[in-house]
């Protein structure tokens, strides 16, 4: 706007000449009647979610004896799913907060959907530790409050308790950040429905928009708090996966008690999160015809982050191996050889090929700009990152210090059901969001449009309205 911009820099908004066009394009799916495709996918994911809930119900009713866990492998599918979903959640905050601090303009059109993804992923993640307690109705015991149990207090030295604080802070702060960003856009939707005379729907969005009017005094405060929230959310997002990694790193299990875990987990989380962003964005931009706002340059930028973080993750895998050998600890060495060549070696190689080899294809521009190939690679990334957590958890546990207690692990249909159900829940929430909320941040995309054309249909002499 008031700054000069080089004409050779990428344009993050293409083929768009008026602000009104941005509003119309983003609001179209909200204003249209739900079509068969949307109803179909939402109903399907809803059914999958219900199946998951049934399995959760069975777990709560019968106990976690319905899972394949045993005394040796006490953590497996459930904690894998937990770490996987928390990791997916990281990309949203990274895009909305870290890229805002770095003034990366390409975040403007993808931040909304990524933040939604973050919140739904953390909701999915939260289910798993609660279920793992076995007696979910005692979940309140995780909170430090005076009680008649002795009085019994929580253990502040335990990373598992730090997790309770980290995940709940992360969920609530991300939710606030996401909602705050949607307030001006809800106001835009409110006024569009009011213009069309659909006052009931306009009122619903009016309630959601908190009476936003777009006063510049409030815009100025709004921008300041967005910046401060990003400043707070940036260390927060790093702390969350650091603390998740400490669930493992502060133990004395070979393969777990390594100091590389915090950065390694954070890089992995960003990697998996961006993989999921790719999966969702490729479909969203195509179905909603938002290619002018989520351009090929956006998709390339995301691919480059996947490449960078994928390489970091690969480096971490190799560092782990080197350190295991260099440490001179027999147990550490054994665990790593067992990880790659033992009974669960297949899962290690799935992880390695999906996370280290496939993202390297993003070095080629042709692949980065092919949405079909990018989509396939993003699915591989998602699979690979799920297996990473499975490998870390199960291979470290199943053959421990005492050979007499060595055991194997195989998941039951209940565990599979909860995993698949969590995907159902995630997509069900995402589809609801995509239908009823603006998937692209309209007001932030509008700031990217330079030199707009005069819009049509400007009326003179209109009276003030209350909506």
């Amino acid at each position: 706007m008031s700054h000069v911009r080089s004409p050779i820099r990428q344009k993050w908004v293409t083929n768009t000449e008026t602000y009104g066009q941005i509003t119309a394009d983003v609001a179209r799916p909200i204003e249209a009647k739900p079509n068969l495709l949307w109803l179909g996918v939402t109903a399907f994911s809803g059914l999958v979610m219900l199946m998951g809930f049934a399995m959760i119900g069975w777990t709560i009713w019968e106990g976690i004896g319905t899972w394949g866990l045993n005394k040796t492998v006490g953590w497996a599918f459930d904690i894998t799913n937990f770490v996987f979903w928390v990791g997916i959640g990281h990309a949203g905050t990274l895009i909305s907060a870290v890229l805002l601090l770095f003034r990366q303009e390409w975040r403007n059109s993808i931040n909304r959907a990524s933040e939604a993804m973050t919140i739904f992923a953390v909701v999915c993640a939260g289910i798993f530790p609660l279920l793992h307690m076995g007696r979910i109705w005692l979940g309140l015991w995780f909170l430090p409050f005076p009680n008649t149990r002795g009085s019994l207090w929580v253990n502040f030295n335990s990373p598992l308790l730090w997790d309770v604080f980290a995940i709940s802070t992360y969920l609530s702060v991300s939710l606030v950040f996401w909602y705050l960003g949607m307030i001006p856009d809800f106001a835009t939707i409110r006024d569009r429905f009011a213009m069309k005379g659909k006052m009931a729907i306009s009122r619903i969005y009016g309630i959601l928009s908190f009476g936003w009017e777009g006063s510049s005094r409030n815009w100025s405060r709004y921008e300041v708090i967005s910046l401060i929230l990003s400043g707070l959310a940036t260390p927060l997002v790093l702390s969350v996966h650091t603390i998740v990694s400490m669930d493992f790193a502060t133990s004395v299990i070979p393969g777990w008690h390594t100091t590389i875990f915090p950065p390694y987990f954070v890089a992995g989380a960003i990697f998996s999160g961006f993989g999921m962003v790719q999966t969702l964005m490729i479909v969203t931009r195509k179905v909603y015809k938002l290619e002018n706002y989520i351009t090929m340059d956006h998709m390339e930028s995301i691919a480059k982050i996947v490449l960078a973080t994928g390489s970091l993750v690969g480096l971490a895998y190799m560092t782990e191996f080197f350190t295991a050998w260099y440490s001179g600890s027999l147990w550490e060495r054994y665990i790593f050889i067992n990880r790659a060549f033992g009974p669960f070696g297949w899962s290690y190689w799935i992880m390695f090929s999906c996370n280290v080899i496939t993202p390297q294809l993003f070095w080629f521009r042709k692949i980065r700009t092919s949405m079909v190939l990018t989509f396939i690679i993003s699915i591989f990334v998602n699979i690979g990152m799920w297996f990473e957590r499975f490998v870390i958890i199960v291979t470290s546990l199943h053959q421990d210090y005492l050979p007499s207690s060595w055991a194997s692990y195989s998941p039951t249909y209940v565990e599979f059901g909860i995993l698949i159900g969590s995907f159902g829940l995630f997509f069900f929430l995402f589809f609801l969001f995509a239908k009823f909320a603006p998937v692209v941040n309209m007001f932030e995309v509008k700031t990217l449009l330079k030199h707009p054309k005069k819009p049509e249909g400007l009326k003179t002499g209109s009276e003030p309205v209350t909506v």
């Binding site: 980290a166 959310a233 003179t460 909506v467």
Partner: protein, 173 residues
């Protein structure tokens, strides 16, 4: 409070900045500008002070920090000292993560709640719009009529800088 406003409606934010520049150089006080997105470089023309929400956030953060440290020290130091492997019960290094989380929690929520209170926003509040398109693609400069000596000069600036509609209206806030 009832106000009589002089309003100029624009479709180009650059023109809004130009209009504000000319108006303020003539000594006209701007009542408010309504826009679908934040216009950068507008703050100096509004004559408003820098928001103190940042200070509020800092204070809330300190409150969160103190809450966390007090809570954990009282529970572990006084009420329930636990002996884990002979290590001290009051182990401040392991209090760091929770202290950090509560600091962020208090700062973020406190700041946002304060923002809603200061701007008087709440779910269900009715919005009073000068133009139904002001959240879409219309930009409005509003000037309080009672504080302007020469109305014709203001209208002339609106005209010059490309306002497509110049009118007067009552505004209740």
């Amino acid at each position: 409070m009832k106000r009589n406003l002089l309003i100029g409606k624009y479709w180009d934010p650059e023109a809004v900045l130009e209009g504000l520049d000319k108006l303020t150089s003539q000594g006209v006080r701007i009542f408010d500008v309504f826009s679908p997105f934040p216009i950068h470089g507008i703050d100096p023309y509004l004559g408003s002070k820098r928001t103190r929400l940042t200070v509020a956030a800092f204070i809330y953060g300190c409150l969160g920090f103190l809450t966390a440290v007090t809570m954990m020290s009282l529970i572990y130091g006084v009420v329930w000292p636990m002996n884990i492997g002979g290590k001290p019960a009051l182990a401040f290094p392991s209090f760091v993560p929770i202290t950090f989380e509560l600091t962020v929690l208090f700062a973020a929520h406190g700041m946002v709640i304060t923002f809603f209170i200061v701007g008087s926003y709440w779910p269900g509040k009715r919005a009073r719009l000068l133009d139904i398109r002001q959240t879409d693609d219309v930009f409005i400069i509003a000037i309080d009529k009672s504080k302007v000596s020469d109305e014709a000069a203001v209208k002339a600036v609106f005209e010059q800088t490309g306002a497509y509609d110049i009118s007067e209206t009552e505004y209740v806030k």
